[in-house]
């Protein structure tokens, strides 16, 4: 407890920074849940693929030797690579795993099975990426991309930690700033986009009554595709931030984070964009405080207990579902 009080801002800011990662991933869960009422179990893999895209693109460009302004350039490239890749993977996922089910109007839980299957496929494919290269004898040439596929791949970008300014007793570093800053920028853009644009209303309309939405001229498939793309891009951004914070990624890096991010989405009120953001930050900070007080090994207990308690008192999350309920 003393520890927390003495280093309050440090714990808060590190918590917020990781919370930002949760929040961005949570957006993907919430968006898809919003339109399809589906827990997109494979979203964590979308994130993971984004992280690899960043690693590979930066490796290919020789980012490890960069310094100074070059690093900034590579950062931008890394974000772009991860976001584009994740968006594409998400789109592909929708096309392969969910659209056929929708066309057959299958019961909601079966989509969960497809999602679980897709999640296995995406993460295992990454874990087996050496195989196809082996067949063509390329695995030694491409060792830095293929390597030992089950092992951690580091981000080849050396960013020296620079302490920039103080917040009370904590000196915020450039990495904190990049992570938090870009997360906030992205969230504001998305929030405005969804709120201001017709798309936002379209998404909600599809969620509430697909048939009536079609009667209003809402193209359900387009709305769904768009939500996957946006959710994917956000996961890609989160992937780059994750790399900046953790430094490495792996074929199974998504799973744990996915569970947490989904928790964050529910915490805030699933289907509610701002809820996802709030949920992400709350979870990140709660974990940070929790591990300060009880020790790092209790951090997940704190997170999940918080979730359960909040849902007991607010059964539809902190901000509630944006989708109201029909009455009796």
């Amino acid at each position: 407890m003393d520890l927390l009080l003495n280093h309050f801002w440090e714990f808060t800011i590190t918590g917020l920074a990781f919370g930002a990662v949760y929040a961005l991933i949570a957006l993907g869960y919430t968006l898809v849940y919003g339109v399809l009422r589906l827990i997109n179990f494979a979203h964590s893999e979308v994130f993971m693929w984004g992280s690899f895209a960043a690693v590979w693109v930066l490796t290919a460009l020789g980012a490890s030797k960069a310094s100074g302004l070059g690093v900034v350039g590579f950062l931008v490239i890394g974000f772009a690579a991860a976001m584009v890749t994740s968006a594409l993977v998400a789109l592909g996922l929708e096309f392969v795993a969910y659209r056929p089910l929708r066309k057959r109007n299958s019961p909601p839980l079966i989509a969960l099975i497809s999602a679980i299957g897709a999640s296995f496929v995406l993460s295992e494919a990454m874990g087996l990426r050496d195989k196809p290269f082996k067949w063509f004898g390329l695995d030694t040439d491409l060792a830095s991309y293929v390597g030992r596929p089950r092992e951690a791949s580091p981000l080849p970008l050396n960013i020296d930690t620079v302490r920039l300014f103080r917040v009370f007793d904590y000196r915020v570093s450039n990495i904190d700033l990049i992570v938090l800053g870009s997360a906030i920028v992205m969230m504001v853009i998305l929030d405005q986009f969804v709120k201001r644009s017709r798309l936002g209303r379209g998404i909600r309309a599809v969620a509430q009554d697909p048939e009536a939405a079609a009667l209003m001229g809402v193209n359900r498939d387009r709305v769904i595709r768009l939500t996957f793309v946006i959710g994917g891009a956000m996961a890609g951004a989160a992937a780059m931030m994750y790399l900046l914070k953790i430094g490495v990624t792996r074929y199974n890096a998504g799973f744990l984070l996915g569970v947490k991010a989904f928790t964050a989405a529910v915490l805030g009120g699933i289907g509610n964009l701002r809820g996802a953001l709030l949920g992400g930050f709350v979870l990140g900070v709660a974990e940070s405080y929790g591990s300060a007080i009880f020790g790092s090994n209790w951090k997940d207990v704190v997170a999940f207990t918080l979730l359960v308690v909040i849902l007991l008192f607010r059964p539809t999350g902190l901000l509630g579902e944006s989708l109201g309920k029909a009455r009796a």
Binding site: R201, E211, A214, S322, G324
Partner: protein, 239 residues
């Protein structure tokens, strides 16, 4: 002809809901479909608005074949529907629901939308009162008003109304039919499905009678209203 439906067959799996249905709706007309429960009225409406796939036959709108046009593109062409069972967006407010009605309008950014909204609020003061109430918590009749208002917001060329009077109080039913006549006079074509056959026939230029999936009779509203067989079956005489 604004709408030409030719030899339409629609199935629910093996069940044939409508068979070889052909009818037309001319520009500026009010046309009504009447028939008993399960006759296929709603199915016909849903097919015209694109929610049900066509097994056989064709639908033409303004001379263009729209049989294969997906539902969400039909509002752009100028078809709007107030569906059976209302289909309000239960989690959105009244105003948001109305705005959804204008979703596909090309002039959706113009101030015209505001005027139209005010017009709907004028027609249904209850909606104006409850502008920010979540639609899911509105009473049955209020939701019905909202569904009709929402369809009006689309400013369509062809308005499809599926049992607009269902769940409405007698006084309001009167009003709904007045509204239909009024907007028709302002140039909107209306295809109307009603259980309240007496009223519907009174307001319609022409009418079709649908029975177990087939059209069995057609004529002007007045003609059918005075046909003794129709009277006996649908106007219910005196209860």
């Amino acid at each position: 002809m604004l709408l030409e439906v030719d030899d339409l067959c629609v199935n629910y799996g093996r069940i044939e809901a409508i068979r070889n249905v052909s009818f037309t709706v001319g520009e500026g007309e009010v046309v009504t479909l009447i028939g008993a429960n399960g006759a296929g009225k709603t199915t016909t409406m849903k097919t015209v608005s694109g929610l049900r796939p066509v097994r056989q036959g064709s639908i033409r709108f303004e001379g263009q074949d729209i049989t294969a046009v997906p539902a969400h593109e039909r509002p752009v062409l100028g078809i709007a529907q107030s569906p059976e069972g209302r289909g309000c967006f239960v989690g959105m407010t009244v105003q948001e629901n109305l705005d959804m009605g204008a979703y596909a309008r090309p002039d959706r950014r113009s101030p015209k939308i505001g005027e139209d909204r005010d017009r709907v609020f004028g027609l249904f003061p209850r909606l104006a009162e409850r502008r920010t109430q979540v639609a899911g918590t509105m009473s049955g009749g209020e939701q019905q008003m909202l569904a009709i208002g929402r369809a009006l917001m689309a400013n369509p060329k062809l308005l499809l109304l599926d049992e607009p009077s269902m769940g409405l109080a007698p006084k309001l039913i009167q009003q709904i039919f007045d509204i239909i006549t009024e907007i028709n006079q302002q140039g909107t074509t209306v295809l109307l499905v009603e259980q309240n056959a007496a009223q519907a026939l009174k307001r319609a230029h022409r009418a079709y009678i649908l029975e177990t999936g087939e059209i069995v009779r057609e004529g002007s509203g007045e003609e059918l209203a005075n046909d003794p067989a129709v009277k006996a079956a649908y106007l219910g005489g005196d209860i």
